[in-house]
């Protein structure tokens, strides 16, 4: 009976595995290969011939695109750093200090605001930050400022919006990995003479690296390609990777150039993330005395 059931389960998981694979092939790898092909194909309208070419990539080899990549990398890195700094203590507190009775309630309260539509969340900041918005109004009423602060359409507003919107993507994986942490390990560490910071450095962080990595990826990848927030809170005055892609695909409709840019940005992303993970591993990974 038992083996039969196990076999059935195995078969089942095989079935769903195939479904997932087909799905991924159809809707991920296929479009990606289209994108890649398009970026290398040049069409000459005068002769009506298409041929293989590096022209789009060579065109993108300009300092201005380098700056855009740097800008997006910086914004995404800052977002990861800030959301991690905020979410880690919150998740730690929630997972290890709050009694089971309150845990779920508090967690639901934290996540609840993010059930709202993403655009709406960003737009609400627009109403808070504009010149006659709530923030300026309160500051004026309190007499802290004499004329409205210019808050909208600044880099600050973009960064602020990113921190705000990406926080739950960091919070969820951190919480789930801290939740699994055995509190007795923390007691054992203290018992052996560790201060809180030593325990954090030697036990808590190394045992929650998976949560930190997942959270960092979940925030970094979309933040790197973000275009809604720069458009709405930055007034579309500074270009980010996401803005450039939107520009080529939707505004000027230069699909091959947009494809080439997308491919490069994907490459930049992969290289950057790999390097960062290597550094992270070097700092918090095993550093054995013995071996």
């Amino acid at each position: 009976m038992k083996t039969k059931k196990a076999f059935a389960q195995k078969e089942n998981s095989f079935f769903w595995g195939v479904v997932a694979l087909v799905w991924q092939a159809l809707f991920f790898y296929l479009p990606l290969s289209f994108l890649l092909t398009t970026s290398f194909v040049k069409y000459l309208s005068s002769t009506g011939v298409s041929y293989f070419s590096f022209d789009y990539y060579l065109y993108l080899f300009q300092p201005v695109y380098g700056f855009i990549f740097m800008r997006s990398l910086l914004a995404a890195s800052c977002t990861v750093f800030v959301t991690l700094s905020i979410a880690y203590p919150v998740a730690y507190y929630l997972a290890l200090k709050v009694s089971d009775r309150w845990k779920n309630t508090l967690f639901a309260l934290l996540i609840l605001p993010f059930w709202t539509n993403f655009l709406l969340l960003v737009y609400s900041w627009y109403f808070l930050l504009e010149n006659d918005g709530l923030v300026n109004m309160i500051f004026l009423k309190l007499g802290l400022i004499s004329s409205p602060l210019h808050l909208m359409n600044t880099t600050g507003a973009i960064y602020f919006g990113m921190f705000y919107c990406y926080l739950p993507f960091m919070l969820l994986p951190l919480y789930s990995s801290l939740e699994k942490l055995d509190p007795r390990l923390l007691e054992a560490s203290a018992d052996l003479g560790a201060s809180f910071w030593q325990t954090l450095r030697n036990i808590i962080i190394p045992l929650t690296t998976s949560g930190i990595k997942t959270g960092a990826l979940l925030v970094f990848v979309p933040a790197f390609g973000e275009f809604v927030i720069p458009a709405l809170l930055g007034g579309d005055r500074t270009m980010y990777v996401g803005s450039v892609i939107t520009h080529y695909f939707l505004t000027v409709r230069n699909v091959p150039l947009g494809s080439a840019f997308t491919c490069i940005s994907a490459l930049v992303l992969v290289v950057f993330v790999t390097v960062i993970f290597k550094v992270f591993r070097f700092v918090f990974g095993r550093d054995s005395y013995g071996s």
């Binding site: 007691e187 054992a188 018992d191 054995s288």
Partner: protein, 363 residues
Amino acid sequence: MRSIRLKNIEKSFNGELILENINLTIPEGKFFALLGPSGCGKTTILRLIAGFETPDNGNILLGDTDITHVPINHRRINTVFQNYALFPHMNVFDNVAYSLMLKKLDEELIKSRVFKILKAVRLEHQIYKPINQLSGGQQQRVALARAIINEPEVLLLDEPLAALDVKLREQMLIELMDLQETLRTTFVYITHDQTEALTLADQMAIMNYDGRIEQIGSPREIYEFPISSFVAQFVGKMNIFRGTLHIGSKVSFVEETNLGAFEVAAGARVPWMVEGGQVLMGVRPEKIWISKKAEENFSNHLTGKVESIVYHGPATQYNVRLKNGTRIEVFEQNEEHFPKDKIDYDDHVYLHWQKENAVLLER
């Protein structure tokens, strides 16, 4: 190696009083066992000594120093946890070296100390193995090595053998005793297993369900001279009779259901031993002599019918039903391959014991 003193300790969790007025002195350099049923608060006592909890009232002294409010990481007290709590992301070496690494000692010094201690617990061939590749017994030894490497004043052990199988447990018991002999560190051993406590301890304390300490003494004192029926029945087995005391030229105990009067050798007279006092009398199963014929030369005897026989190997347990319905347990050594007068089910038997072998209990 210093003593531990608990003075008027009180502790409650969520309004529930767990420990009330605990006074306990754990002598220095001794193997001390704290024995009690599950949920009696013995683990709370250990957590108070370790510093994981702070008492609501009272003081904890290490030697002459009050450590009640000293943080965990500043107490020279280390713990072997029930499920070891080894760091899963570190190998054997790093786990054991942890406390030395925190002190930022010289790398070579750490190495030599870790190698020495791992040799002492016979793990010298597992030094760089990850924790999850060790057996239960090996993990136990890592936990032990990790706790003693920093030479604590007191070592706390929270049911450390509970997860091991019987054979391994017996082996570890002996290793623990040897270790305590060599280190001369004060060991505080928490357990609900009376055999472990009796085997290991120089001194032991018995806690009851209410979180009170019933009796403190050497294993022999506790076993032979329990002060209450709780202690008597928690440590080993004890047949208990209820009745009244008669003090004449001899001290005798009259059983309340007319089983008879039994002579008792009451050594030290205590205030509750008064004429007509309601008391209990206890006789250990192995101190009763069972036979099919009545024997002379015994102070006391009873009759009954054998209800069941449990063969243990070295000994046999007879459960005998008395005429008042009480069940008495009797242990007999299996001294011979072919017992001459084999006792069987439903046999009518005589139970005898000497007056010195019964104890009087107040409650």
